[in-house]
């Protein structure tokens, strides 16, 4: 027996934001149903409502035609709904068995009964998990299997997977998909949340698209194209970041020469990377997340130390310099995670203007701060970069993601940097802010700024870059000309399908 779940008119408000409104969705029994949408489209909120983590403000959930309300995950589990969170919900210091039986001790106890049952399920789907292993010793793919096993152990018939492939390498994605197909063959339904269109087209039986907190349409994976889905997700013609004239010069701003970075365990995170960024050039770095982009950025910024190799900025060796020194030499840095690295959320905007520029006028005078200078310059950024805020005394936390990001970009372009390092500069940002940020990058490039752009958005990379380098398992494996390459080619190169 499988269950049929239907959501109708779901709405959810948070202070100042509407996360979901009028969301409707029907999951047919025995299918893989994909829910797609951009970051911030409200997918995760919807899932939490369906799993009983948060209550809905309006709308109904019905299971097999009966109205249900879930006060807690327990209620959802009871009717056969299980969820695998994007950030795994596992306790590292407990064993696989302990993680699985937690909360479901009544089913088979916490001893041999449970052990047998876990081995049974693990064997049936080829998970290869050992009940008494500590979870901390498991790799990412195994942890995901523990999560799925946890859900199956409770007899779930609808399994929700929130961005399950974000952390997996391609082979692991294939393994996951074959697991999912077996589950469906066994009578389960799967709700698959993603924003990766290739994967959705490969695995889904039905597709529902969300945008700005609501469901905007459905699609049939047999007939839909990636482009159609993308337009449904974005809601308009895709903004294309076409760069017009070439402004590349032959002056090298940043050069990496055979740079290798190793982690605490002595494994290479970056291997023998050589790369040059010229004045007026945007060099894009393409790669599946976790292939060394973060390390590349951090080693240039002096946040990580290179094990070997040399990094120069405008001819000066910066391999061993501290982050502060690197910044003083004229490097702007738009970090990947704006909340953790880009801003101090509890500081007002004008104090955030000082962040990262603690040694450069106009925000400081020698060893002292210059609050007046910081305020004036913060006001300038707010105006030039169209940051929507009541004032510069507002804390950064109160701003929307797009406005926070515009402020960061504006700050990092202050003081005439010679190099800008931008990690995912428009991730989770609304379309308007995205276009504005692209315009600013282009304008600065015209004036001779060198840009190292790391992005997961292939269209952004192709549109903005003068040259694209592909990073795979810590190595630069291919160079592409953005005017010639297609997203498909890049995708293949990023997964090691065909290196150029």
């Amino acid at each position: 027996m499988t269950i049929e779940v239907e959501l109708a008119g779901i709405g959810k408000r948070f202070p100042g934001v509407i996360a979901n409104h009028d969301v409707s969705l029907r999951i047919r029994p025995g299918t893989v149903h994909a829910l797609i949408g951009e970051n911030g489209a409200g997918k995760s909120t919807l899932m939490k409502i369906l799993y009983g983590v948060q209550p809905a403000d309006e709308g109904t959930i019905s299971v097999d035609g009966q109205h249900r309300s879930f006060a807690s995950p327990t209620d959802a589990i009871e009717v056969g709904i299980g969820m695998v969170f994007q950030h795994f919900m596992l306790a590292d210091n407990l064993t696989v068995l302990e993680n699985i039986v937690l909360g479901a001790e009544k089913l088979h106890g916490i001893g041999d009964g449970a052990r047998t049952r876990i081995k049974e399920i693990s064997a049936r789907f080829g998970f290869g998990l050992e009940p008494d292993q500590l979870v901390e010793r498991l790799g990412v793919a195994d942890r995901q299997r523990v999560e799925i096993l946890k859900v199956l152990y409770r007899g779930a018939e609808l399994i929700i997977l929130d961005e399950p492939t974000a952390v997996l390498v391609p082979q692991e994605v294939d393994a996951l998909f074959s697991n999912l197909r077996e589950l469906v063959a066994d009578g389960c339904s799967v709700l698959f949340i993603s924003h990766k269109l290739d994967e959705v087209l490969a695995i889904a039986d039905d597709i529902t698209v969300m945008r700005r907190g609501t469901t905007v349409g459905t699609a049939d994976p047999r007939t839909a194209t990636k482009h159609q889905l993308a337009e449904l997700m974005v809601g308009s013609e895709l903004p294309s970041p076409e760069t017009s004239e070439r402004t590349v010069t032959d002056q090298v701003v940043l050069a990496l020469d055979g740079v290798t970075v190793t982690d605490d365990l002595g494994r290479d995170r970056l291997t023998d990377v050589s790369l040059a960024v010229h004045r007026g050039e945007v060099v894009g770095i393409a790669g599946v997340e976790g292939n060394g982009q973060t390390e590349l950025v951090e080693v240039v910024m002096g946040m990580l130390r290179a094990a070997s190799g040399r990094i120069t900025l405008d001819g000066q060796d910066i391999t061993r310099l501290s982050t502060r020194k690197v910044r003083e030499l004229g490097v702007g840095f738009v970090p990947e995670d704006r909340h953790r690295h880009g801003l101090v959320l509890d500081f007002p905007l004008w104090e955030n203007r000082i962040l990262g520029h603690q040694t450069k006028p106009p925000v400081v005078k020698g060893p002292l701060l210059n609050p007046a200078g910081a305020r004036t310059d913060a006001r300038r950024i707010v105006e030039e970069f169209d940051v929507r805020t009541p004032g510069i005394g507002t804390t950064a936390r109160a701003l929307s993601g797009g406005n926070q990001q515009k402020f960061i970009v504006g700050r990092e372009m202050s003081g005439d940097p010679i190099l800008l390092i931008a990690s995912h500069p428009t991730r989770g940002v609304d379309v308007g802010a995205q276009a504005a940020i692209w315009d600013h990058v282009r304008a600065a490039r015209r004036e001779g700024l060198g840009v190292l752009l790391v992005s997961a958005d292939l269209d952004e990379l192709i549109g903005l870059s003068d040259r694209i380098e592909v990073v795979l398992r810590g190595r630069l494996t291919g160079t592409f000309d953005p005017s010639q390459v297609t997203a498909q080619d890049l995708g293949a190169a990023m997964t090691g399908g065909s290196a150029a």
Binding site: P15, G40, S322, R327, L368, S400
Partner: protein, 363 residues
């Protein structure tokens, strides 16, 4: 206006709540609530008034020492041990008379600062090199400080009454106090340290780059790292700074009236923990810490009169402890409300501008 209400309401509510809870405790144990309240709120006599001023200075210095840690995101529970070490070292040095006359005061203060800073940096270094929580190491170090200083005084000190103490501070190095109220005892000369520390604390945090780095690290270590702050170095430096200030905590009393060090008779223990409480009460802000110190000193000063009503004076410890808990809860409630209000204000203002109508991003 709203801002002031937001920052004043929590401590006021907390104090009222703590007093009410104390009254309940007194009532349950059969004491007279009326007597308690009338004694606590009576006008203090001259002697108590001076004591309140003197004690406030100690509590405020301790509060600032703790606050430096808090602003950095460190819980320096070791202020207690650091000021014991600072006091012990200073008293041995000051009592030795190596430096003559008034210059001895300055030299002794430097010794106190250095000793406190050095002791605090043990916890700082252990944190950055071995990943040891500063709270756990400081708890251990507090007891080691207490035992070691007791031993050193017994071993190298002189007999003072029934116990041992360091040599007395030479009279030529004893500063004159301020005879503010005629007939009452003096206000200690070195209460001025509290004023100097307050001014230095404000200037450092609000006006200097170093202070900005310190606050940034406390608010978000990850953002600090990305902005080019050497977080590990900051941990050790700010821990030492906090310890240096902690070393000064007992100095006004030492120079003002005690003139020697010996646990327990010739020392005042517990100021470190009280300083943590004062810093929490005052939200690590200069006026807050000063008011908090005065409040705690006031409660302790008035409590001596409680004995007359047959109420143990320790009852104000209960009040002080509850104030700390209540104020932290109150500040948290206000913080949540404030940040919600701010977010709503932002979306309201944005809704007002038509161009930004689509900006209300779903997150």
């Amino acid at each position: 206006m709203k801002r002031i209400a937001y920052s004043l309401a929590p401590p006021v509510v907390a104090v009222v709540f703590a007093l009410a809870a104390t009254c309940v405790v007194i009532a349950i144990s059969g004491g007279s609530v009326g007597a308690f309240l009338s004694t606590i709120f009576s006008v203090p006599n001259d002697r108590i008034l001076v004591n309140i001023v003197n004690q406030s200075s100690l509590l405020a210095i301790s509060g600032f020492a703790a606050a430096i840690g808090f602003r950095m995101g460190l819980f320096n529970i070791g202020v207690e041990g650091q000021y014991i070490v600072g006091s012990c070292a200073a008293a041995f040095f000051g009592g030795s008379g190596l430096v003559p006359g008034p210059l001895n005061i300055l030299a002794t203060l430097v010794v106190a600062i250095l000793a406190g800073a050095a002791y605090a940096s043990i916890a700082g270094v252990l944190k950055v090199t071995r990943g040891v929580s500063e709270v756990i190491s400081a708890i251990m170090l507090n007891y080691i400080a207490l035992t070691m200083s007791g031993y050193l005084v017994q071993r190298y000190g002189v007999k003072a009454g029934y116990t041992y103490a360091t040599n007395d501070l030479p009279p030529s190095s004893q500063p004159l106090g301020f005879a503010i109220l005629p007939g009452a005892n003096d206000v200690w000369a070195l209460t001025v340290i509290a004023v100097a520390v307050a001014a230095g604390y404000w200037f450092l945090l609000a006006r200097t780059r170093f202070g900005f780095d310190l606050r940034t690290t406390g608010a978000s270590a990850s953002a600090a790292l990305a902005s080019g702050i050497g977080v590990k170095k900051m941990v050790v430096v700010s821990m030492a700074l906090s310890g240096g200030v902690a070393g000064l905590v007992w100095m006004p009393a030492y120079f003002g009236s005690v003139h020697r060090f010996g646990v327990p008779e010739n020392f005042q223990a517990g100021l470190g923990f009280a300083g943590l409480a004062v810093a929490l009460l005052g939200r690590n802000r200069v006026p807050g810490i000063i008011l908090g110190a005065v409040l705690f000193a006031y409660l302790s000063g008035q409590s001596n009169e409680l004995q007359r009503d047959g109420i143990a004076k320790q009852v104000v410890d209960i009040t002080q402890g509850i104030v700390v808990l209540a104020v932290v809860v109150a500040y948290e409630i206000v913080r949540r409300r404030q940040s919600r209000a701010e977010r709503e204000q932002v979306s309201e203002e944005l809704a007002a501008t038509p161009a930004a109508a689509n900006e209300g991003e779903a997150r």
